[in-house]
Symmetry: C2
Subunit: 241 residues, 2 copies
DNA sequence: CAAGATTTGTGCGTATGTATC
DNA sequence: AGATACATACGCACAAATCTT
């Protein structure tokens, strides 16, 4: 067949892995930002000396991490760098074993509480009037929205998101959103609507806002504990059932 | 060309997405655990009515989330469900913009501190003699290992991992490990070895162990703050340079 | 609105490298 | 060492979505 020397790839690594790395470095080296377009598949194939199959498989792994975003018929773009991969990982784990799923949900609630309770002092310290007004509005929305509506769950998410905003820590904000998402996805599967017991939730949110207005970090932390207490109770109740 | 009615796929979703979902539900429905083998590509192709291309791309996205693990020449297995995807996402983001990378690292340090400081009380409460001995050994290893060695950084990781172990919260433990990994990967790129300034680190670890032995949650929290203070200082110094 | 061009999605066949028995 | 099973990689053709003219 081949009369000449076989062009054995000297790489010890998998071609797909090499391609993913080169695409990542391409994005970094060219200072691309989320939404910026990447070269077409054909161009990348030529540039990286890879077949279209290998290139596409590499792109799929990057898409799973939200490092790139592929739009059918349009092109490939730099992704939003969200924590969607974390959400998918945790939701899958939460649904994996029907015995440990309650444990996983409890672990998640503990982490959510850790964030808000542990950052209570700094939240109070950095909160200003505008943020306080936003929190009040989110609470009002939560109360007024029809129970079980999409607007209601969105108001709950916005509230917890707003809590972390004054910290100016993007990682904390994104993790908070990701954990909320996982909770909202997993909880219904276990027979409990996450922002259920609306009265409890609204009261807890109000207590947090009041504590924040009074610049009382201890009261705020206590309100956070009170907010998650009924959630934990419901999980425990589901475990006994 | 086609005399018969076109076999339009009623699905509005992409085939690839449908395949990933069906593989996930396959794992869940069959109660598979990490390490369990999955059907071969050929079998999955037939079972899911998909071509190898689509199936492989679907598997690559699942592999990126550590939901499945592919071993060349051997087969496909259920993944370890680690948070490797989170590590990859955060490391990429940390290296993305040379201006905000210091900010991203600072955000990360803040989260790491939040975990250990926020859980101080519960760590103290649930710690027993055995855990205390493990922590002391990890500290001793950290001190004795040659500076800059792989054993040294591993001792540091083990210490922070052990801290969270008594909580019995797998999510917290895995997140702690993931954040440590990101820190260890990103920090060197910014010109600072993560577990550098060995004296500071060892002293801080010792202070934490002592506080834990004395069941003094406040002292423990203070030691955590003292542990990350020099790290923050170094990041700030790198920002001024 | 229409038609063509561009780009990603899907399918298939074949050859090769790798792990396992 | 050989044989078998399996994943990896390549190339091409066509379908579907999107964009442009």
């Amino acid at each position: 067949m081949r009369t000449e020397i076989k062009p054995i790839r000297p790489d010890r690594t998998l071609l797909r892995q090499a391609v993913t790395d080169r695409i990542k470095t391409y994005i970094i080296d060219n200072r691309l930002k989320p939404g910026d377009p990447l070269p077409t598949e054909a161009e990348l194939c030529e540039a990286l000396n890879a077949s279209r199959s290998s290139l596409r498989e590499a792109i799929k792994t990057l898409a799973a991490l939200d490092i790139v975003e592929v739009r059918h018929g349009s092109g490939t773009f730099v992704g939003r760098l969200s924590l969607s991969a974390l959400v998918e990982s945790l939701t899958f784990r939460g649904l994996l074993s029907p015995e440990d799923d309650l444990r996983a949900l409890l672990d998640l609630v503990e982490v959510r509480q850790l964030f808000e309770e542990g950052m209570a002092a700094q939240i109070i310290e950095r909160l200003d009037g505008e943020h306080l007004a936003d929190l009040e509005q989110a609470t009002a929305e939560l109360e007024q929205c029809p129970p079980g509506s999409a607007a209601q769950v969105e108001a709950d998410r916005k509230f917890h998101q707003l809590l972390m905003q004054p910290l100016g820590n993007q990682l904390i904000s994104q993790l908070t959103g990701a954990f909320w998402d996982v909770h909202a996805i997993v909880a219904p599967y276990l027979g409990m609507s996450s922002p259920a017991e609306d009265a409890d939730t609204v009261a807890a949110h109000r207590a947090m806002v009041e504590a924040a207005r009074g610049r009382d970090a201890d009261a705020f932390a206590a309100a956070v504990v009170a907010h998650y207490a009924p959630v934990r109770r419901r999980i425990a109740a589901a475990g006994r059932a």
